[in-house]
Symmetry: C2
Subunit: 416 residues, 2 copies
């Protein structure tokens, strides 16, 4: 079974026209949920699904699904599904999301062309607002498809301009009926760009994800005393920035120690950092920080978080600052299905394509789907690991190669 | 010679009505150059100067001077001058500036009441925009009075709303003629609130400043690589925030070392700190910092600055970041006149008021005046060292006590 590299390329390039951004260094797009660019991208997908003979439906939160039920398949059998998302971050890349949607479609077309006869229907899926740039914090459509959020809650979500998701979908003509239910699928596969450099470094074209890391977001606040930078002697200061700087280095050290001691996939990041009053001639009075901790092992996430708390306790004692620590977001790691992973490795082997195990440090709709059915995630190489940026790039050959593995795995999971 | 505590208090309290702010914790005011509050404060001062029989003139940049030429004085003799400023920071205190202006006026009235007979005229001065909140970065009026800036340059300075200083003065009726020339004064004294806790801690009512620290402002930039906080392994990061955190601690350490080794008045502060892109889930790509270094010894300022540069060099080598360092502002320390200081100490001793030497870490118009004539600076205690804040407070007894020392010193310097 072979995939048509040029057909896949055309689909992704045509999709890249919607919300197109041309920069010196690459090709990007801005496709936020409910915008004209999003409507065009959705309508084009529906057209392409129908061109391939798929039955298209739009659910109540705008998730799009196209089902192929060949004569070989039992229409009542639980389908195997694959897909990703069409929305982007502002000034994002052209592959993050669309590759997974159009690769799933190309996989179906490849099976059709090769006369593959699955015994289950195959479903191509595009979830609403994976990137969470307008209505939610991310993974919106899949959260409804797994019952984490009700349709009513989702439709009531408001953008900054007061528009609800319901209104935005209605305006695009993409507020459908019923609900895509991930629990009805027999299995699921998503192909996505890696967003790291491990495949590129190893010169391996396809990654098979073992687990998606858990994610903890913490908010740490350090309060000292804002004071005149000239008139306050060094020994009379409670400098919130100096204390917060120690915290940043403690979090980095904690993550490095966990990497060295127990789990080399652990990461800890202080990503946001706001200083008040933030004037050159004032000793900083307060710093608010956002901390991101991830790993495939929840225990090692806990270790980093508890060392971050210990750092704040130490700073209270040593520097006289007041501190606060909150953990508003905490998601455990999501292991991928062994059965689905094996299908992917086998498909690679059959096609003579090298595959390698790796983890995903980024969140994907597959995290949600995995709560309801056997789920897998494949990666294609990202040049220099860059994503969420017009510089994001995956070679067309790599797109096609990863799609061949996806198609092979879907055929296998579909009972062909 | 005694000063009238209640007359001084009434002057400062009446002045505090202009731009008044009432807060739970104190009384403040917002008096920016060219505002209605500034016009009212200026008109009230002119009235009070004239009430005391002083000849008032307004110069081309709105500096206000009231001259007392008693019969005992040679009208052609170089006057001795004293004063401060009436403008405030947004939501500033009621003493910072006005104490020095109205204490100078009260000193003249006290000399008049006591029949003191100076042989030189005595001039009460209020400089335009010391705080630098609207047209310049600070010390505006005194910069013109010492020839650091021409009248034309000053009048062309623009506020954010496009108004020029010339237009603002014109609108208030305070665009006068001629120029206050600090070089024509035989000596100068400014009374100001301390903005630190040294007098309060020592329980001494009057400070005699030995030197105003020099001030260096540096801009340090650290550039790493912004990257996905989940998908970027710890050993594959160039985290600009972690590197910048080391820099903050290096600057703090350098200042502490200089304090321990050579000059206990040295201070070094990273006060502003801006992280990009500043999102919890993104490894920081760049940090821009503003560094403030001050001391009464220029050598020790140099030591702190050179250790800050060394820190950046080290971070380039150890963390692979790119760095930039600029020093857009650099002012050497300003020693106060021994003659004027001695007059102040003597005045304290004559009146049975304890005085102590200390330095000023904050900038004052006196820094400029000292370029042209013998200048001195007196401090009154600041409760908890707080200033630029409605909580700023100096007890009325302390205001009067410091004014007695000011009056005694002015009488002495005026040849009485």
């Amino acid at each position: 079974m072979d995939v048509d590299r040029e057909r896949l390329r055309e689909d992704i390039e045509e999709n890249a026209e919607f919300g197109r951004i041309e920069t010196d260094s690459g090709r990007g797009r801005t496709v936020l949920t409910g915008t004209e660019a999003n409507r065009e991208a959705r309508e084009h997908l529906v057209e392409r699904l129908e061109d391939a003979g798929l039955d298209v439906r739009i659910d109540a939160v705008g998730n799009v699904a196209g089902r192929w039920t060949p004569e070989s398949a039992d229409p009542e059998a639980a389908p195997v599904a694959a897909g990703s998302h069409l929305d982007s971050v502002p000034e994002g890349g052209i592959f993050d999301g669309p590759l997974g949607v159009y690769a799933a479609l190309e996989a179906v077309r490849a099976m059709q062309d090769a006369g593959v006869e699955p015994t289950r229907p195959v479903e191509v899926v595009s979830f609403t607002e994976e990137e969470g740039q307008r209505f939610a914090s991310g993974l919106l459509g899949s959260s409804v498809a797994v019952g984490e959020r009700t349709v009513e809650e989702a439709l009531a979500l408001e953008a900054d301009d007061g528009t609800t998701l319901g209104e935005a979908l209605e305006a695009m003509g993409f507020r459908g009926e019923g609900l895509l239910d991930a629990g009805e699928w027999d299995g699921w596969l998503e192909l996505h760009v890696e967003q790291s450099e491990r495949l590129e470094s190893a010169d391996v074209p396809v990654g098979v994800v073992t687990a998606i890391t858990g994610i903890t977001h913490c908010e740490a606040t350090v309060r000292g005393e804002a004071n005149h930078a000239g008139a306050t002697p060094m020994d009379d200061r409670t400098d919130a920035l100096a204390a917060a700087s120690e915290f940043v280095l403690d979090v980095e050290r904690a993550a490095n120690e966990v990497v060295a001691e127990s789990s080399d996939t652990a990461v800890g990041t202080v990503g946001s950092f706001d200083v008040r009053p933030n004037a050159t001639n004032v000793v900083p009075g307060a710093v608010e920080m956002g901390v991101d901790v991830r790993d495939v092992e929840y225990d090692s996430m806990e270790t980093v978080v508890s060392r971050a708390r210990e750092s704040l306790d130490r700073l209270e004692g040593e520097r006289g600052v007041e501190t606060e620590f909150a953990r508003p977001f905490d998601l455990e790691p999501t292991p991928m299905s062994d059965r689905v992973r094996q299908s992917a490795h086998d498909a690679g082997e059959r096609a003579g394509i090298e595959t390698m195990d790796l983890h995903s440090g980024a969140a994907h709709d597959t995290m949600h789907v995995a709560e309801k059915t056997d789920a897998g995630l494949l990666f294609a190489p990202s040049r220099d690991g860059i994503s969420h940026n017009p510089k994001e790039w995956t070679d067309w050959d790599d797109c096609a190669t990863a799609t061949r593995v996806l198609a092979g795995a879907l055929a296998d999971l579909g009972g062909a």
